[in-house]
């Protein structure tokens, strides 16, 4: 029969919509409205997973996010998703689910041997063994890793897409149970902007399975409808079902995960994202997040068929599934009596074992009236049945809860429903360091009172309030109050929903059921924590071994460290520890609560930020042309720059050599648009430059350019570039491409804080200007054809700037050179960049104009011994180290970094200095980064003299060249030293001045 455990009537499932799904290859049917868990239960599937350590068979225990056992993998191939709780997977057509962490099958799992051997392997056993022989850990580890882990990671990129949204609200209400809805309605009525979030796909919380709960004389369904309708009518309310608030990062900043669709849409379009990350900024927050029921801890309490009482009620009333026929309820509080009533109504046989002495509560009385057998003062000491509960053993509990006594009765049953009390969901409060106190009445931790000035409050079950009437009152007050605090209306709620008062008996804590005297297994199978198989015995052992702090307990026993983060187990674990050490619960503190509340898909946080959207791929105005003309690109920061241009049949080496030679012998052109550019204006501009650069700027003539080095306050070079005086009070600064934002921020800093007296304005114009560097002996002849002014050597001297037109558009042209050849840096408005680039190409044909990339530039400048900041410097070099003493003004009182020159370290003898290096063998290319020794083949380990910063094969010189930062390098000029390969071999090289070509510099002035 299909769905043998489905009830004929009732529930929120749609029996007209059958859904086919598979679990471990077997196909089943369920109904629309089911979760995977409810559908599996309806089909009588009792084993769903295996536990982490002992591989014990496990079934479904809960009905929501607190489920520790029933973890499955869904989807195939790229759509595979491991470790999902069957209780939170919505059933959908074609759902493929698999059990995990078992081999070869769920039913017969070889790993179960661990359970047999569990008596040898208590908590932390792995710290005590696997140490022989020495260093054998990697061997053991191989097997241990295989045995550990749960699901498997997909091996293909995620085909799904994810969305992100930032949103601002006045009030965030988390949880749409009775409390959350009431709070939201109250606040909405006052006019505040509200975000109402519910992790389940349906609104209603507990009300969804408490069908007898009358509110405002309405049945729950009707009250829910009325309330939701009212909320929907407000346009100041945003309701987000199937959305979980996962993180409270403080100061009213929350993250939430919205599930936008279920199931797999193969080939799904990017516009149909699977999940959305919300970043929510609010002013007031109400946590109406309910409470999680706790299990009771007895021998074999993890057997399939042991379920949380209220979860079982959920399956019966919400999903119309009664997964057993004969239910033994084991409780220490009144709430489970509701289940008794539902279960009997659904046709089950029910018997109740209550550890308390008695209760006069409403439901207890009702259950008694219905003739349900209730036994007080008794406990389940053990579950019987390995793959499914077959019976329970019951004994009496001694008056101090310390022992069990009397005869053991075996009660046949196919389900044991347990309720060990309720733990309010205080996670969001606690994540933000909200104070917690132990509440005796609730037997759990709740948010501490006295935070009226705080923006967040817990209400309803989340505050430990376990009856609807008070919860609703509390919620209504909180809602009105929150609205009032954000400036809407007064703090008095209107038309509070009223529930009947229900008398309930007190919860009597029972952290663990004592093991019967002489029991062989003792506490070794009392699981307080299911997924990681943490038992009462483990806690006892840890404490015996000196792990007293609960944080130690957690880490030694791994309790609370599983995917459910101890939602059902943490309070019990504390109770057990308290009991064991003789502490009062009020002196115990839970371990730290941390985001996320429930696990969050990594891809959801990444959103669309991957591939080209990971970070901007910045392109210059001429980029498209480069692409179409064989450019191989280099990533420089976010920029894409042509590295070299590959002609058909060329390799990198050939292409770069061709480009270099073109510049040296004819003319080349490079896109230098990525350079940082800053417009500097104001009466104190020259003084400002004087302070940020090492050299003098006051006397620079208008229209003249000068190279400058910027130092940080430690006296080390951090950027360089050419700055030009456009007018008396007006300069144009260039910076390195990568350093542009940093330099701008740095300059603003000095201007706005330390030197606020200087009248200077800075404006970034990096992207206003496209820059084309035209370089080579024929550059002038070429350019002449395109400009409308005199560019002769006499009229337009080296290191000066002129404005005029090129190819019909305005330009600023700078006579500066980074290659050592006669060069023109042509700046035109970015939108003209491509136009001018193409115009140059047209005219350039006759001159052998060759576009060249960054690699050629680097070679050309190295031939000249020009540094690249960041390559030939590493943030620890002074200008003197770089052989650039000439750029440090001797007569200036102060500039940034100057003071540091007085530090002993700067004056030190053995500093590394930039020198040129010539391999004795002209064809040997020195490895960049190679370190240097004075002696050939000096055995490693040894000390370094320094390292090679730049190394190239120079086409014009027909040999390899290099530069390096070498200790006392300048003293070694004309001596030979040795670069050392990784294998220790030596390459002999000669130290020289860092300049290899046209050392007089005549060419660039040409």
């Amino acid at each position: 029969m299909s769905q043998p455990y489905r009830l004929a009537t009732g529930g929120d499932v749609d029996r007209n919509q059958t859904i086919n799904f598979s679990f471990d290859g077997k196909t089943y049917t369920g109904f629309s409205g089911d979760t995977l868990a409810s559908a599996l239960l309806a089909n009588g599937v009792s084993i769903v997973g295996r536990s982490f350590k002992y591989h014990r068979p496990r079934g479904i225990m809960a009905a929501g996010v607190e489920e520790p056992n029933a973890l499955v993998e869904t989807g195939d191939n790229a759509f595979q998703e491991p470790n999902l709780q069957a209780t939170t997977v919505l059933l959908h057509e074609g759902l493929i689910a698999r059990s995990q962490h078992r081999w070869p099958s769920l039913a017969f799992d070889v790993g179960e041997i661990n359970d047999k051997l569990s008596w040898i392997f208590p908590a932390g056993f792995y710290y005590k063994t696997f140490m022989w022989p020495a260093r054998a850990w990697r061997f053991y580890e191989y097997f241990i890793r295989k045995a550990a882990g749960l699901g498997t990671c997909p091996d293909k990129p995620d085909p799904d897409s994810y969305d992100q949204r930032f949103a601002h609200f006045d009030i965030l209400v988390v949880g749409c149970g009775a409390s959350g809805l009431e709070a939201a309605v109250q606040a909405a009525r006052k006019g505040a902007r509200i975000c109402l979030v519910e992790q389940s796909n349906e609104l209603g919380g507990q009300l969804l399975h408490h069908p007898e709960q009358i509110i405002d004389s309405l049945l729950p369904a009707d009250w829910l409808k009325r309330t939701v309708d009212e909320l929907t009518a407000f346009d100041n309310v945003t309701t987000l079902p199937h959305t979980t608030v996962v993180g409270n990062y403080g100061y009213n900043y929350f993250t939430a995960i919205q599930h936008l669709r279920t199931g797999v849409t193969p080939g799904s379009k990017t516009h149909n994202p699977r999940q959305r990350l919300w970043k929510i900024r609010t002013k007031q927050n109400i946590f109406a997040t309910g409470a999680h029921e706790r299990p009771l801890v007895f021998n074999n309490n993890d057997r399939p068929g042991v379920m949380l009482a209220d979860s079982l009620a959920t399956y019966i009333n919400r999903y119309a599934v009664l997964p057993g026929r004969s239910i033994l309820i084991f409780t220490n509080n009144d709430s489970a009596y509701r289940l008794a009533i539902y279960a009997v109504k659904a046709g089950a046989e029910v018997r109740i074992t209550d550890s308390r002495d008695g209760s006069e509560g409403h439901w207890v009385k009702q259950a008694a009236t219905m003739g349900i057998r209730i036994e007080f003062g008794k406990v389940v000491v053990s579950a019987i049945g390995k793959r499914k509960v077959e019976a329970a053993i019951i004994m009496s509990l001694s008056s101090n809860n310390a022992a069990v006594e009397g005869a053991a009765e075996t009660v046949p049953c196919d389900l044991i429903a347990v309720s060990g009390g309720w733990s309010p969901v205080i996670h969001l409060h606690a994540q933000d360091r909200g104070a917690l106190v132990y509440d005796k009445d609730v037997s759990a931790f709740v948010a501490a009172d006295g935070f009226e000035d705080q923006p967040s409050i817990c209400v309803g079950a989340a505050r430990g309030c376990m009856d609807y009437k008070t919860s609703l009152e509390q919620a209504a007050t909180a809602g009105a109050n929150a609205a009032f605090k954000v400036g809407f209306g007064n703090d008095t709620p209107t038309n509070i929903s009223v529930a009947e008062t229900v008398v309930t008996g007190a919860t009597s804590p029972l952290w663990m059921v004592p093991a019967p005297q002489g029991s062989r297994v003792g506490y070794h199978k009392h699981f307080h924590e299911y997924q990681n198989d943490s038992t009462v015995a483990d806690i006892q052992l840890a404490m015996l071994e000196g792990f007293e702090s609960v944080e130690h307990l957690k880490r030694y026993t791994t309790t609370g460290m599983a995917t459910d983060q101890g939602k059902t187990s943490n309070v019990n674990a504390l109770g057990i520890a308290a009991q064991h050490s003789g502490h009062d619960m009020k002196d115990m503190a839970p371990t730290t609560y941390r985001p996320p509340f429930t696990p969050v898909t990594l891809g959801t946080i990444a959103g669309r930020q991957h591939g080209p959207l990971f970070s901007p791929e910045r392109k210059t105005p001429m980029c498209q042309w480069h692409k179409e003309n064989g450019a191989v690109f280099e990533h420089v920061g976010d920029w894409l720059r042509p590295w070299w241009y590959e002609n058909p049949g060329e390799d990198k080496h050939g292409a770069v050599a061709r480009e270099c030679m073109a510049v040296r012998t004819a003319v080349g052109m490079m896109d230098a648009s990525t350079l940082g550019k800053i417009d500097i204006c104001g009466p104190d501009s020259a003084e400002f430059l004087n302070r940020v650069y090492t050299n003098s700027w006051l006397k620079l003539g208008i229209g003249k350019c000068r190279y400058g080095l910027m130092l940080n306050e430690q006296g080390y070079v951090f950027d360089d570039g050419v700055t030009t005086r456009l007018g008396e009070n007006h300069f144009h600064m260039t910076t390195t491409s990568g350093g542009a934002p940093r330099v701008m921020t740095w300059l603003e800093d000095w201007l706005q804080t330390e030197w606020a007296d200087l009248d200077v304005y800075l404006t970034s114009v990096s992207e206003q200007w496209a820059v084309i560097s035209l370089s080579g002996p024929k550059s002038r002849d070429l350019l002449r054809n395109l400009v409308d002014f005199d560019i002769s050597k006499e009229a337009f001297s080296f290191m000066s700037m002129k404005m005029g037109a090129i190819a019909g558009v305005p330009a600023r042209i700078f006579r500066i050179s980074f290659t050592g050849e006669s060069s023109f840096e042509i700046n035109v408005a970015s939108n003209h960049g491509l136009h001018v680039w193409k115009a140059l190409l047209d005219v350039g044909q006759d001159f052998g104009l060759t576009p060249y990339g960054t690699e050629a530039t680097h070679i050309l400048r190295a031939e000249k011994g020009f540094i690249i900041v960041g390559q030939d410097t590493d943030g620890t070099n002074t200008p003197m180290d770089l052989g650039m003493d000439w750029i440090v003004a001797k007569n200036k009182n102060d500039f940034l970094g100057r003071s540091a020159f007085d530090l002993p370290v700067i004056a030190e003898q053995s500093r590394r200095q930039l020198v040129g290096l010539l391999p004795i063998d002209k064809t040997t290319l020195l490895p960049e980064g190679a370190h240097v020794t004075r002696m050939r083949d000096e055995p490693f380990p040894c000390s370094t003299l320094g390292h090679i910063t730049s190394s190239y094969d120079s086409p014009i010189l027909g040999r390899t060249i290099a530069m390096g930062l070498i200790e006392n390098g300048r003293d070694l000029i004309n001596q030979s030293i040795f670069a050392r390969n990784l294998d220790g071999s030596s390459i002999e090289m000669m130290v020289c001045e860092p300049a290899f070509y046209d050392n007089e510099g005549g060419k660039s002035r040409d």
Partner: protein
């Protein structure tokens, strides 16, 4: 002959595409507009008066506001910084005029026409599209008529201008980062437009 607004050679807008629309949402790369950054002291009456006279509107001194005049719009960018957006062919003359009237004052006028491009996002749900990477509060009450703001979209800086109640926003973005923003917004439009 030489004219910075020489339209023919303005061949290279950052994107080759102009407009997409998805449902009610549209995203558009606006044709290049003229843009000037104006710097000066807001408490210097000589400065503000002269600028106001020339622009025929008050200089927006109030934080995050926009003033529209015959010449174009003036956006607040900081306590001593404004951006004037105007038609391309008026950039040179306005620059010249400003320089002339503000002679000998500590001010600065910089043309940034090409440094930024402007994307126009319009349609119901536009704030949600922007919110896919922008943390600014775009609720109507917080960001509406005559308002502008500089903020960020994921990793890049943007400036937003509220255009109309459709709602329509103009987004000023660095030229080289335009494509990044466009691609993000295009996908966000597809997600947020009702299907």
């Amino acid at each position: 002959m030489i004219n910075s607004s020489n339209q023919d050679s303005y061949s290279t807008q950052p994107l080759s595409i102009d407009t997409i629309s998805v449902g009610a949402l549209s995203l558009q790369q606006l044709p290049t507009s003229g843009k000037l950054i104006l710097r000066g002291k807001p408490n210097d009456n000589a400065f503000t008066n002269r600028v106001s006279q020339l622009l025929e509107c008050e200089l927006p001194i109030k934080v995050n506001t926009v003033v529209t005049s015959k010449i174009g719009t003036v956006m607040w960018r900081g306590p001593d910084e404004w951006m004037i957006e105007l038609s391309l062919d008026q950039v040179d003359s306005l620059q010249t005029d400003l320089i002339a009237i503000l002679e000998n004052q500590h001010i600065n006028i910089v043309v940034v026409t090409d440094a930024y491009s402007v994307l126009r996002l319009s349609g119901q749900g536009a704030p949600d599209v922007l919110s896919s990477g922008c943390s600014l509060n775009l609720n109507k009450s917080e960001f509406g008529t005559d308002q502008c703001a500089q903020t960020h979209y994921h990793k890049i800086g943007i400036a937003l201008r509220f255009v109309d109640e459709t709602p329509t926003f103009d987004i000023f973005v660095r030229r080289s980062e335009t494509e990044y923003l466009w691609r993000h917004l295009e996908l966000a439009c597809q997600t947020n437009a009702p299907h």
